[in-house]
Subunit: 324 residues, 2 copies
């Protein structure tokens, strides 16, 4: 990666931006789509008014710009939400992932050096086989799968606060489902009666890993027991003489809570996938490793795509589509 | 009920107390076990140190006491917890509910006018068919069923923040399970991404009632979908053109969230019960009516016992056992 503005500006061809709720990451790319610059800030949708986006973007990338010409900026994520910079309305599924830029909106800027394209999210209305759902940002990571394989088909999972599962067929999202897994875990671990029992959550320890896997399998087999297994963590903390004391105890219970919440997600999400097909995990490595552990435990194989790699590939696909 | 201390004192035979986490209710009873006095305070376990319980109790009941003699005070609930007045250790199930007073502890008081019996809770360790669990307070409400029918058998449910389901056989609790239903609802409705969509929850409106029943049935059939149906509430709020706007909209979504959380509980709890046997609901009337609506929707019958009536009957049973 180039280190000085003087080196970047002559080669800059376009800019990729992932603009989420709580932060913003920008990459400068050359004409071969190689990353030559990177910048980030903590100014996400939740801390910006609509008229503050342009200045924030300019603050981050102004040094990269060549002396003349207009630079395309491909933006995915919450900047395109109704509460963001300007709304890029959801595209209803099924949607081909190489056509996201057709739904992009171009905000009017005071500075004509940048031409910003806010990519749309995806929506799904209720039908016999589907439920209301929305995504914004994850569709661009999914598009990254299609950038490398135009006819990509299969089940993809993006773990996180609101985990997304999408079925892709020949490069299009046909159906998707969001699970409130990460948020539910955080609320239960930090704000419920369980907060007294739940410690730090790290699967490097083998007892924690075992507890995690056992909980995943248990809930995958019997999702109806989820709510009672939650209180069971508190009771186990009070009664189980076989658990170690102190931090080791609360770490095992944390691993078990994680296994229960992820197991509930998997029991809802995996039935659509034949066990012979690998599930594609997209996201940060540690969390995806946790999902791999869980999925392997219930008989599924996975393949992994780094989240940043995916979003950059998806933005590249959208940028390429501008030219056609 | 008597209104003056002068009328109460000559007739007072014993005192019943339900001492929970956040409040305390005391009743004075005559020798026929009729309630002749009532008092309450907001001083529950969470706001009292161990050495403050006696003074708080005395403050509430001192006026009721006759000039001489010692009065038995039967206490259930969190006052007997480790963090309470003095610990009354859990009795392991199976436990006959007419024998709770055998596990009572009698704290040493500075005032010898009262003889306090702190009743124990129940615990359950892990086995092939059961999971770790605890209850404290609810066992005395269950004992109320046995006070009127010594050989009571059947499935009983005490809805609430931590809903308890207990299987009773011939007057004994053989197994029980706690569901984190009420607490999960509150966390999701008030502190999750759903807080923007969830309004006041009242089933008097028929659209809300229908949404509640539909959600119960949906999750009872497919508990694995629970986590995705949660996020679906947010998506439905964004996308569903058939819902009314404003408060009517958020009330329907609140009813639906309630149906999802209660439905998950029922999918875990009801399979043990033949649909031909009524499920006994114990608690406050409005909440038990909601559970009746939910249980009827999935094919179960209910019978209702008022929560205060149950706890008083349970404390009476424990008081009677002192004499034998």
């Amino acid at each position: 990666m180039k280190t000085t503005a003087a080196e970047i500006a002559p080669q800059l061809a376009w800019i990729a931006v992932d603009w989420g709720s709580s932060n913003l990451r920008a990459w400068g790319l050359d004409k071969h789509d190689h990353v030559i610059a990177h910048a980030s800030s903590e100014k996400g949708m939740l801390s910006l008014k609509a008229d503050e986006y342009e200045a924030e973007l300019h603050r981050l990338v102004a040094d990269w710009l060549p002396d003349s010409g207009q630079i395309n900026v491909m933006v995915c994520g919450m900047a395109g939400a109704r509460q963001g910079w300007r709304e890029a309305a959801y595209l209803p599924v099924p949607t081909r992932l190489d056509q996201l830029s057709q739904g992009a909106v171009i905000p009017t800027l005071s500075n004509d050096r940048l031409r910003v394209h806010l990519l749309p999210g995806l929506s799904q209305t209720r039908s016999a086989s589907a439920h209301f759902d929305v995504m914004r940002g994850e569709e661009t990571q999914l598009a990254g799968l299609v950038a490398d394989n135009a006819s990509f088909s299969g089940l993809a999972c993006l773990p996180g606060t609101h985990a997304k599962w999408a079925m892709l067929a020949s490069g299009a999202v046909t159906q998707f489902t969001t699970y409130l897994t990460g948020e539910t875990y955080q609320l239960l671990a930090r704000q419920s009666v369980l907060q007294h029992s739940i410690g730090s959550d790290d699967l490097n320890d083998s007892a924690c890993r075992d507890a995690f896997i056992a909980a995943v399998s248990e809930i995958h087999k019997a999702p109806a027991t989820f709510s009672s297994r939650l209180f069971g963590l508190r009771a186990q903390d009070l009664l189980d003489g076989t658990l170690p004391p102190g931090k080791a105890r609360s770490a095992i219970l944390a691993a078990r809570l994680s296994g229960l919440t992820i197991g509930l997600e998997l029991s809802g999400a995996c039935h659509a996938c034949p066990a012979s097909e690998p599930i594609t995990l997209i996201g940060n490595q540690v969390l995806c490793q946790r999902y791999t552990l869980a999925l392997n435990a219930i008989g599924y194989q996975t393949q992994y795509v780094d989240g940043d790699t995916a979003v950059l590939a998806g933005l590249r696909l959208a940028h390429q589509a501008l030219k056609t």
